[in-house]
Symmetry: C2
Subunit: 712 residues, 2 copies
Amino acid sequence: MVDAVKNQTNSDSSTQLADRIEDSERLDEASGSMTIDKADARIDTAALGQYLLGTWADARIAARALTGRPEMQRVDGQTLSEHRDTVFHQLGLLVEHGGVHKAFPKSLGGEDDHGGNIAGFEELVTADPSLQIKSGVQWGLFGAAVLHLGTQYHHEKFLPAIMSLEVPGAFAMTETGHGSDVAAIATTATFDVGSQEFVIDTPFRGAWKDYLGNAAVHGTAAVLFAQLITEGINHGVHAFYVPLRDADGQFLPGVGGEDDGLKGGLNGIDNGRLHFTNVRIPRENLLNRYGDVDVDGTYSSPIQSPGRRFFTMLGTLVQGRVSLDGASVAAAKVALAIAVRYGNERRQFTAGSDTDEEVILDYQVHQRRLIPLIATTYAASFAHEQLLTKFDGVFSGATDTDADRQDLETLAAALKPLSTWHALDTLQEAREACGGAGFLAENRLVGLRADLDVYATFEGDNHVLLQLVAKRLLTDYSRRFAKADVGVLARYVVEQAADRTVSGSGLRTLAQNLSDRGSVARSVEQLREPGAQRALLTDRVETMVAEVAGRLRPGTKASKQVAADLFNANQSAVIDAARAHAELLQWEAFTDALDHIDDEGTRVVLTWVRDLFGLGLVEKHLAWYLINGRLSPKRAQAVTAYIDRLIARLRPHAQDLVDAFGYGSEHIRASIATGAEATRQKEARDYYAEQRASGEAPIDEKTLSKKQKERI
Amino acid sequence: MVDAVKNQTNSDSSTQLADRIEDSERLDEASGSMTIDKADARIDTAALGQYLLGTWADARIAARALTGRPEMQRVDGQTLSEHRDTVFHQLGLLVEHGGVHKAFPKSLGGEDDHGGNIAGFEELVTADPSLQIKSGVQWGLFGAAVLHLGTQYHHEKFLPAIMSLEVPGAFAMTETGHGSDVAAIATTATFDVGSQEFVIDTPFRGAWKDYLGNAAVHGTAAVLFAQLITEGINHGVHAFYVPLRDADGQFLPGVGGEDDGLKGGLNGIDNGRLHFTNVRIPRENLLNRYGDVDVDGTYSSPIQSPGRRFFTMLGTLVQGRVSLDGASVAAAKVALAIAVRYGNERRQFTAGSDTDEEVILDYQVHQRRLIPLIATTYAASFAHEQLLTKFDGVFSGATDTDADRQDLETLAAALKPLSTWHALDTLQEAREACGGAGFLAENRLVGLRADLDVYATFEGDNHVLLQLVAKRLLTDYSRRFAKADVGVLARYVVEQAADRTVSGSGLRTLAQNLSDRGSVARSVEQLREPGAQRALLTDRVETMVAEVAGRLRPGTKASKQVAADLFNANQSAVIDAARAHAELLQWEAFTDALDHIDDEGTRVVLTWVRDLFGLGLVEKHLAWYLINGRLSPKRAQAVTAYIDRLIARLRPHAQDLVDAFGYGSEHIRASIATGAEATRQKEARDYYAEQRASGEAPIDEKTLSKKQKERI
């Protein structure tokens, strides 16, 4: 099965070398178990599609059956109020068709199925992101807050009407003055022992609740977050169940608000502002799982530390981030399904022939624009499946330790920024790759992009989330140090010293340069080893974290202001480290997934996709690898050359790769991705062929000689 | 004036070194003529604002007076048809208030003022991009085609009604099947000698005209591009004046079409599709400046080469690209004015204090996100002014040689992609930097971004334009070679050999590493020299062009297919080279502009901005500089460290830098950039201060000791 490596003379071009190596490369080198020739590798799209559906395949399939129905889908061109009405009506259909109650307790008609609930929920994005987010507000935030922050009393009293949509509700956490910094919200809930009521107040304009879905029109109640004050002590942010409107839709006494109006997208949701003046609610309306007030005004909580209590309460809301991660992956899949189909049918410019125009996905730049996005989408999809599994483990109680909860939050905080930004990048690149057609609403890309825009900043601003991840990395790092025996410490010292040597004199770079001389072949081979990719990606994360930790260390003994300044001076580096970590997580998830692909041809192609993703990350951060002496200039060049090679090799599989996403025309719904373009191309070619055959084609002036021209 | 450089011990941190150098740096080192201390440097915003208005300041000021009027401005939330009606009405107001006829001949009531026309036109983007583009369709494309492609007969017969908006018209060039490849459009105009008419036909669906502004509703005529066929010969694409609709708005016989419907933005423009079946127009409706058909059907043209003739005709339409470049810069300015103002008022999280929250622009990452965008906006603004000057020179006839026209087209093709993408990046970053508030339509960022999205692909797809630029660079390069004496050739050979040495053994890298040892100081100083920045940027362009040219050379003697494959295999490199060239042009324009800044303080600050832009480019392409041995790892690190330093230094000037853009609240029109945020912050702070002063503030549970807690 093994061809001899072709014996060619040396060449300076690393591209040529990479080609040569790849041409002679045997698959059994890439994976011991493979026995087919790479030229024969094909994706089994049905099997891969099934694998991509993941653990909660049934929930996804059921949700896709629903999202494929026209009455569940976005109608372009509706006014703000029409769109809001449509989506509200669709929420009713969701209740009718089931599926949105999966996460609620069986005792109340739910299924206690947390993973399946999110899997189905995130699929709604292909029908209309407004539908996804509005149902997320109703059941994933408003309802889930009652479920997770309330106790049996609240479950029995409030959940049935929430589940049935009889009571549409808002999740009143964010204020005009405070979004990311929830602990600093200013709305107060002061306990009045005399009347056994909490008194809700908005002390100033900045404390208005803002951007709340269901607040402008439909919401008749809210879970409201406010500073709980009793006996003169502020016990921090707690959640309260607060009625908003009467049966006629009029605000109850003391409640006021306004409409947030038109937004950049998600206009099927009635976001609005709320304010409260001396609004009284019964003591029992405090959602009291993590903090309670007794009849005499005494505060109690199962969690002593106010900080930990706050983060525990917020932690129950992680599912929002989980589902945005999944919905973003779904949107990227739809975008690529549209752009790749169109790129495979659309023709523009003749290049290698006088008459036949090229399919635009045959252009190198078009491939460079779209195929790496396919690779990242696969990585994000596999990473999301791991996140969903982790989430289900925690919320089902199967694996629900403190450490599990922390890991879940860190994982969600790491992946959500990457996938939401990736969806925006993908939708935009797909839009531009489809030219003017991509700008028409009928081709979906602009609408999806407009809707998903805010995914980057809500449910946790992406930068703020990455900073949380970085803090966790730094904490873990300092713990390793605290517990470290001399050996571990010594290893770090040696590594640091080695780094310094590299920066100081370039000695390691030099050594690698010399050893690389004439051995680009080996360097390319190494790069496609998963071990080499893992080492490069892991090394970068560890080095960055260690460097930042080292630079922040003086702050641990400094004043608050000095420590803050020091942290701020390193904030970019902190966030870069978190991003590197998240990228590594995606790469590991992709690599894990490869082990579960049974079909050889599929595994071969997907391994190339994984390599493209991994080496794409290395290329993106190439300057870092060069500066830090991890790659020689020669090897760095080989990275790009090999990426070009991988892209060319994946080009014939592009359609299969997006077909495996499993979305049908009822989900994609873009005129340019229906085959209309291929039909048009054929009609034009047939027309010209017939014209030539019949001798009726006009002569092209360009083909006339000067003499012929003069004669005419 | 010169302090001694502080004598500090060596440190490994290049950041610290950079700080030290900068602290001791004297301004008279940066510019011989400066006499003030950099700590005192302030921007004279009024003077800088005046300079930014450029040569056609009067036209801009007049246009801004108009765009500041509410009746000229976008009304959010209108339906498609309301928005179209509004914009059409606004076009009428433009006629009424003058300003849109500047480019037309004085004999017809115009001013023959081409630069002033574009300057005013691009300012319309701040009122509503739909207004800018719809007026661009009417007067910049439809009218300009009659002006530039027609002759006196057409000017007299058609222009008055076009100028007055009596005849709204479409520019019918693009077809569903062909956008970028205009030469391949399929609509035919066949001359019928018997009736002395051209017969317009759409042979198949792909040949429908598409995406045409004014085509869906308002257009009663069009300038139509079609293959001119007479006496059995196709003379290529020519333009024809074709009536579309009667006085009642009904299509004329043989004309049909449909509405493009909702788009991602620019919905004030009625884009649509048109098709023609045996539509007859008089022979005289051929816009015959560059090609004519005699009564007997004989074709004639002042330009013999059909290829050159085609590009000459298209070349008259370059003003569209020029104005998109300027409008994109204007939109980026508005976006930054919003985000910087908000970033300077909005507070979030306490960091260095227990009570006072930080202004978000004081966070390093927020600065890193916004301040480099300010620098690029200045670069793009100065580059646009040079483009506009070049454009005016050519169109006024003052400097109108073939070479001038080619330079103008190359310059427009280079700058339009960079500025349109930059505007989208800036609008998006500004939107995210404003969080949820940025997503509200009332804060303008999402609307502007949605509208400007298509700027990246219309009037020349950005990638296609960059490829044109690259072809020009490659042509120039091969000409230099063709004429080169032995000396020049030898220089290239030496350079190429040097490159090979670097890649092959890293010898040059090594040498630089060694010489850099202990002299980061000097390397930082060198980087802020304009000469060093120019050398780095120019070297990269020249090297990339030479490398690509070398790789394409075998194609010159190969078959068409082989040459096409070779070009395609290098298409990414080709486009990267063009982009590098365009970036260099922006840097040069910025550097030129500094010479014209009289106020010292302003020049000092703007020099930092220019350095940030220049070094930002170097950082963006750092891997290239490292791989190609142009920067040592040490020096590469210094680039990033110095950028951090520049950003921190520019932070206090951020507001001045955006104030100098000169847009008033009537142009910015974002609720979050009106001072409302500062008012809200003050209200909140005053509330808490009063509460503390009165002793009514609840005690924070976090501040209680364990003992106190137990007591409670």
